[in-house]
């Protein structure tokens, strides 16, 4: 059959078989349209919207377009690139994506897109979704807080007698995927594994096998691309003979990020040529003694004191950098946001395995900082200028960013240095 059509993608003239899927045609011509829900040409789901392109000037999803004569398609305009990034960010904000603790990390399509786009933080406030994590099914665990509602599982996984195993329930922001237990039990081991495999994120997990493949050797650990982060131009100002002043602190974090700071070995000495530390656990200076160019924040805000320290940093530093997942989105401590504070405290001090029999006291004293109702990412308390993701972030990554901010140098980060997990 010869049914060649001519079309234009980003100004490039292209010949293709009429009626083939645009995403595939673009790929053959080395133009990459990111996709997340696109799975089968036969039945494009069109749910995730990240493949949004412009077709003859109108927005539409690339995965649902079949190419025909004379089409003019825009893929990589600044607007469209930002739209895509925005959608990924929205997906991150809408669910609870604690990549460092996620079974899918390294095999996750969404995470990989985020790496490719150099995503360090979402522009949206976190929703901290509190949907159920369902352990009831025979083989599977459904972690709805990671589900991006791509609908692959709903459309693709059926029992042999043709019934749906996964279904959307509720609507709007409450929509989630629910497993039908009776049908799930009918699936064979292989079918269940297939369900986990086609889920582009870590929402469908199979009990006992989710961790089988070692981290670091997964699909995108090998395939990932390097990124060139975008930083606002301009650099920190200082007199020539002075050093840059840097302060650091660890709020509700594990100090892992600070350990990573020291991980550049002798590089640290070079660093000290241009940088002087002020308030920081590294110097043990407890109070600011001068105004700082840069403040590095590890951890989010879990208690009153964290908030005071963070606000103090905002006042005393020109530029604030949040480094590590905890600072950016609350990280592991924020997992308590889904459990009432009272239960957390009772579990820690009264009912936990390590508390004494009959313990009935939750420590409270005026010298103890009061706990906040939730753990807050730093940018929900003060304005944060830059973010360095990772748990902990790679040492090279941290210093490249700091140096670039201080000196205004451009830099690129390898995939390995950039990863969140």
């Amino acid at each position: 059959m010869n049914n060649k059509v001519k079309l234009k993608i980003d100004g490039k003239s292209i010949q293709a078989e009429g009626g083939t899927n645009l995403v595939d045609v673009a790929k053959e011509n080395n133009i990459f349209i990111p996709t997340l829900c696109y799975f089968k040409e036969l039945n494009p789901l069109g749910t995730c919207r990240i493949c949004t392109v412009k077709l003859n000037g109108k927005h539409t999803t690339g995965c649902t377009v079949k190419v025909s004569e004379g089409m003019n398609i825009e893929v990589n305009t600044p607007e469209l690139l930002d739209n895509r990034k925005a959608i990924i960010e929205m997906l991150y904000a809408e669910g609870n994506h604690f990549c460092p603790t996620c079974e899918k990390s390294g095999n996750c399509d969404m995470q990989n897109h985020a790496y490719d786009m150099g995503l360090t933080v979402t522009r949206y406030p976190h929703v901290f979704s509190d949907k159920i994590v369902d352990f009831t099914p025979k083989r599977m665990i459904m972690e709805s807080n990671r589900c991006i509602l791509c609908k692959r599982c709903v459309e693709e996984i059926k029992t042999r007698d043709g019934k749906d195993v996964f279904s959307f329930v509720q609507r709007g922001i409450k929509t989630r995927v629910h497993i039908d237990y009776e049908q799930e039990a009918k699936l064979s081991e292989a079918e269940a594994l297939y369900a986990m495999k086609i889920c582009p994120v870590g929402a469908i997990l199979i009990k006992g096998v989710a961790h089988e493949q070692p981290f670091g050797e997964r699909k995108y650990d090998i395939l990932g691309k390097d990124v060139i982060p975008s930083f606002k131009s301009g650099k920190a100002k200082k007199e020539d003979h002075e050093k840059f002043i840097v302060a650091t602190t660890s709020l509700a974090g594990c100090f892992g990020c600070h350990m990573s700071l020291l991980d550049i070995d002798t590089g640290l000495l070079d660093m000290l040529e241009i940088v002087e530390f002020n308030k920081s656990p590294l110097t043990d200076i407890k109070n600011f003694t001068k105004r700082c160019h840069v403040g590095l924040i590890e951890g989010g805000c879990a208690n009153e004191e964290n908030v005071h320290v963070l606000r103090e940093f905002r006042k005393k530093c020109d530029i604030l950098i949040g480094f590590g997942e905890c600072a950016i989105m609350g990280g592991i401590p924020a997992m308590r946001n889904f459990i009432p504070l009272k239960e957390c405290l009772e579990e820690s001090y009264m009912n936990g395995m390590t508390s004494e029999i009959g313990a009935d006291i939750i420590p409270a004293h005026e010298d103890l900082p009061k706990l906040l109702n939730n753990v807050y990412p730093c940018n929900e308390v003060v304005k944060i200028d830059y973010y360095i993701p990772g748990c902990p972030p790679n040492a090279e990554h941290i210093w490249k960013v700091v140096k670039s901010i201080l000196l205004g140098e451009e830099f690129s980060i390898t995939h390995d240095e950039f990863k969140y997990d």
């Binding site: 749910t47 995730c48 607007e79 929703v127 509602l149 279904s167 609507r171 504070l341």
Partner: protein, 583 residues
């Protein structure tokens, strides 16, 4: 055999659910298991359908279920007093059911009675122009054994304005069956030709040329085709379809007959929103009459005789089901999620067959056009939009109700007709339409300029714009189908921004965010809901910048929405609580 039986089995799912819901007041787990077995689907798939529609309940919603309109027009008509009166009369708060399961009190988006608010539905029977006194009466009558249908009101069709008689299209008497003589005069292609010549465009809001739609459907060969009338009328503030259904069901049915004849469809359905359930029986009576007269059914006499019949399909509460592809899914007994847009219903619609979906007003116009002749029709209105338009007017004006206006009318002239003396803002074509300010009042109502689906909500300067926008935003958050992230979460995030503005925590950056985020939502959402949900907010920022500026606080590096005192309150309470109980 009922007409429904000619449709695929699954399309009866919603009416089976309605039966159970009406009998038991909720759909129990056991019922779900049985229904799932009956329809040969998984229980969870069924639950997905049930939980999509807000009128299906999974817990007892009371023998008498009261729904009160939550929209802004209702609020400005004194909704709060009415809610309080109900709460007092039945003894439970909004969202709850009395202990004896006698009454349940719930909120619902616009119920299509905006000109007679405050209003409510009790067991889907309408009660209008409520007062606390009237509510006491209603509840005590119900307690004394009266049924809702015995004591309910009949919503009035308040026609406030029509053009001179030979320019009036809809709001004048009609002799049933009279237009059907054209079936004998014209063959199907000729009808399509007439409608194409008339330039009639869809009145559901998208203004797609009706003749063209019918032609496409006719061209697609299939063993079965469908005509669906979209009577979902969900856009807040509109009620013109209700009035047409009430006053001129014959026009609608005959419009559908012409559509069926033209495209070669033998089955039709009226998708009636559940809020209008009180109209169902009447519609069915008229359909019965048409059937008895041989105007529906087998071998309808025409130049080329044909078979066609219509039944009424009841929705169950979901604004998105007004979107034609969502509507089709809903009729198929599925969740009302819109399809992606590469195939249109005229090609693959209901049950995968060519389907025409038309709005009530569009279909009602067809017999009228044939009756008056295309030339007289074209002489009315403007070039792009000939004829007249029904507008539903509510809000701060003297004369609420239906206006049949000739397209092209000047906005100021129109406002004068409504008796609105101090109109400051007008929400035109519903929350997803355009917000108008004084500056727009010199424009004309027409396809060339200010197009309108039917809803006109007028606000005077005592109304708080942000409060109005918040109400719209709540509506879109509630009604998003949830399939695409920009709409389901984007609208939720915009809603939070409006909160920030209301609380005085917003800075300039927040306004910039709103503009940027809206654009993302608008350009990446799958259907018209997401593509238009941020219109009013953005119009408002453009047209009333001073209102927003007033709400801004100074730019700082701190996030004012974070309140430390509030954030530690819970901890303080726990500690206080513990020390008191343990001492």
């Amino acid at each position: 055999m009922a007409i429904q039986d000619n449709f695929p089995l699954r399309s009866s799912l919603m009416s089976v659910l309605w039966d159970i819901q009406r009998k038991r007041r909720f759909i129990s787990r056991d019922d779900m298991t049985k229904i799932a077995r009956e329809f040969n689907i998984s229980r969870m798939e069924l639950e997905g359908v049930i939980s999509f529609y807000h009128f299906y309940h999974r817990a007892d919603c009371g023998k008498y279920t009261i729904y009160i309109n939550d929209c802004v027009i209702s609020q400005y008509s004194g909704r709060n007093v009415i809610v309080a009166a109900f709460e007092e009369a039945i003894g439970v708060k909004m969202g709850h059911v009395t202990a004896d399961k006698m009454f349940g009190l719930f909120k619902s988006p616009c119920i299509g009675l905006s000109d007679q608010e405050p209003a409510c539905l009790i067991n889907f029977q309408p009660f209008t122009n409520l007062t606390p006194f009237k509510i006491k009466e209603i509840i005590s009558q119900i307690r004394n054994g009266k049924r809702a249908y015995e004591i309910c009101d009949t919503p009035k069709s308040v026609i406030q304005y029509t053009p001179v008689i030979d320019k009036t299209v809809f709001c004048k008497p009609y002799t049933p069956y009279s237009s059907l003589s054209f079936l004998k005069k014209y063959n199907p292609e000729e009808i399509i030709e007439e409608i194409k010549k008339s330039n009639l465009a869809g009145r559901g809001g998208a203004f797609f040329p009706t003749g063209l739609k019918w032609q496409f459907c006719r061209q697609n060969k299939a063993d079965q085709k469908y005509i669906i009338c979209n009577a979902d009328e969900g856009e807040p503030g509109t009620f013109k379809d209700r009035v047409l259904l009430e006053e001129h069901p014959e026009l609608l049915i005959e419009g559908m007959i012409f559509a069926a004849y033209s495209v070669g469809a033998s089955l039709g359905a009226i998708y009636l929103r559940a809020e209008y359930r009180y109209l169902k029986e009447k519609l069915e009576k008229v359909l019965f009459k048409y059937r008895k007269e041989g105007k529906l059914g087998k071998e309808i006499s025409a130049k080329i005789p044909f078979d066609f019949d219509i039944y009424v399909h009841l929705g169950a509460g979901a604004y998105i089901c007004g979107e034609e592809t969502a509507l089709i899914h809903s009729m198929e007994g599925k969740r009302g999620e819109p399809s992606t847009k590469e195939v249109f219903p005229v090609e693959k619609g209901f049950d995968g067959k060519p389907t025409v979906v038309n709005n009530v007003e569009t279909l009602c116009a067809v017999p009228r056009i044939l009756e008056m002749g295309v030339d007289s029709w074209l002489a009315i209105g403007t070039e792009k939009t000939p004829g007249t338009k029904l507008l539903s007017v509510s809000g701060d004006c003297e004369k609420k109700g239906i206006y049949e206006i000739e397209w092209g009318m000047n906005m100021r002239e129109f406002i004068k007709l409504t008796g609105a003396k101090d109109a400051k803002m007008i929400q035109f074509s519903g929350p997803s339409g355009e917000l108008l300010s004084e500056k727009d009042f010199d424009r004309n109502i027409s396809g060339e300029d200010l197009s309108c689906g039917g809803s006109v909500m007028i606000y005077n300067d005592t109304r708080d714009l942000l409060h109005i926008l918040k109400n719209y935003s709540n509506f879109f958050v509630e009604e998003s189908c949830g399939i695409c992230v920009p709409c389901r979460t984007g609208n939720f995030l915009l809603n939070k921004k409006i909160n920030k503005l209301i609380l005085g925590h917003a800075e300039e950056k927040d306004l910039a965010d709103i503009i940027e985020w809206s654009k993302i939502i608008k350009t990446t959402s799958r259907c018209g809901l997401g593509q238009s949900s941020s219109n009013s907010l953005n119009d408002a920022m453009k047209k009333f910048p001073e209102i927003f500026e007033k709400r801004l606080s100074e730019n700082t590096d701190f996030n004012k929405a974070f309140n430390l005192e509030k954030a530690i309150e819970e901890y303080d309470n726990i500690i206080n609580d513990l020390s008191t109980t343990y001492e």
